[in-house]
Amino acid sequence: MTAMPAPATMTSPNRRIGDKVAVGLLGMSVVLIIAILVVILGNVAFHGIGAVTWEFITKPPRDGLMAGGIMPAIVGTAALVILMSIAAVPLGVATAIYLHEYTPAEGLSLAWKRFRVSKGRPGRRRLFFRAMSALLATITRSAVANLAGVPSIVFGLFGLGFFIQFIGRSIDRATQPPGEVLWGQGSLLWAACTLALLTLPTVIVATEEALRTVPQDLREASLALGATQWETIRRVVLPGSLSGIMTGAILGISRGAGEVAPILFTGAAYYLPFLPGDVTDQFMHLGYHVLILSTQSPDVEATKPLLYGTVFVLLALTFLLNLAGVIIRSRTRSRAR
């Protein structure tokens, strides 16, 4: 009887050590990622927290941005974020409701197949419309995915070309005396519209996910009781998915709050001694202020505390929004379980 050769796959001590090293290397990448986050946040917190005083938060900048506080930037960012949410959230939720509640759940390929095999049977027209609706949903979904990938600077160009040069100038031509420019320039309104577009995909995707968590039985029960589709959505679907929608909205908003590239040419101002009082006013912005302080300061060392303080406030704002979103999400998840 010949000795059977040891199968190549049998565990040898050698391989176990090799395995451990390799797994350790994989684990190192996780450690590296955590380290990057800790270093960035730690650095900002360490240098920034001392700069954040009551005066810093409540006073405008002084001496050509070399001293003073960042109050106008905080107010400008808040105003921008609120306007952006007013535009983005209802629109995003409506798009998601359309995608999830009004288009065929079976998807494009199945809907099309059902139409094709229905030749000569009654209801063929209805199946055709159903297939077309599924096609529109597919196109919309890919448009949403592509919108999410459009570079933020291109959103800025679009805001300049569409909202300001096209819509703003048209309003001016219609309502203002010749030569006067009110709407056809960068402003809070146009910056908010541009940012709203950028956050739209986040809101749509998150809302659709939230709508998916509402059991189909509930919808059917509601419809069976004689409710219309809109009543079902308002009374059953929306209440059931509200926290998921809110999470998505907040995460989208926190992304929008930190974006600078889209507002560069659509209304952010270098320095304003007053607060924006109207949607046609320009505004200061925390992120833009960070850019200005770190690239245009005549004396980088002298403005460093101001810079770190501004970064700290911006990070705190976005992370608090993020945290709120994450908490709402985890509370809903534990309730669902």
């Binding site: 176990r16 219309t228 930190g258």
Partner: protein, 314 residues
Amino acid sequence: MNRGRRIVNALMTGVFSVAGWVAIVFIFLIFLFTFKETVPIFTDPEVKEEANLHKFFAEQEKGETVSDRYIWQPTSDRPKVSLWPIILGTLKATFVGLLFACPVGVAAAVFSSEFAPAKLREVIKPVIELLAGIPSVVMGFFALIVLATWLQDAFGFTYRLNAINAGLALGFALVPIVYTISEDGLSAVPRSYREAAYALGASRLQTALSVVLPAAAPAVFASFVLAFGRAIGETMILLMAGGNAALTSFSLLDPLRTLSATIAAEMGEVVVGSAHYSALFFMGTLLFVITFISNTIGTWVIHGMQRRMGGSAS
């Protein structure tokens, strides 16, 4: 059913159907309006004189080195509008960013889906989310003020701001994209694949690397493609940490200027309707088209994989 309720229902159906078109309309408008401002390059005789496809891409003049032959100086007396220094800068930063983010992101994804205990996994997820939540202007600030100094002290770079520094910071921002999509793909691989590998005597590492990872290859590929799209278009990090010099150079140690940073830096001062203005919008169109293609490929691959694995991987 009473009439009022029926009318309201029909009305709301209309409202939602209109909302369904919003994304399609805007993606179309974005292309249309970015491209519209590019058109004078092809039609307007005055603009064409200064900026056209030939001037963008052809060799400008004789010179000793490549950096003398391809120059971006749109505002000088004799405007020079070669796009090569800027395209090269974009590619250099993207290359370094992906070189960092792809291996790190995939390794972390493999580790957390195949080896990490459940408790550790619950730490990794929020860490990645926080990293993704850092605004790019803050990442740019960090690279400009902190990272650049550290790297220069450690390696003695001639230029404080260079492709390594900017690309690395870009890589930090790309890691969450690579990680999230790869991890989704790895977790979507059915248990039976792993069980079959174990039954054949494979170790956990062998199973992870030669069974699970290849099965999730489309997702990993998609994560690279989507990270590429993000890297090409990323603006603030490169505007702040790239050094802002449009040099035609292949060296990673020189300062650089990307397409996005050029638009961001110059659009504020440009005369609306000038050749320079159209050239900047041309860059915007270029960015839009490149990211549109890479996003379409990325999402298409992910959807294909979802269908095959028979579940939602997102």
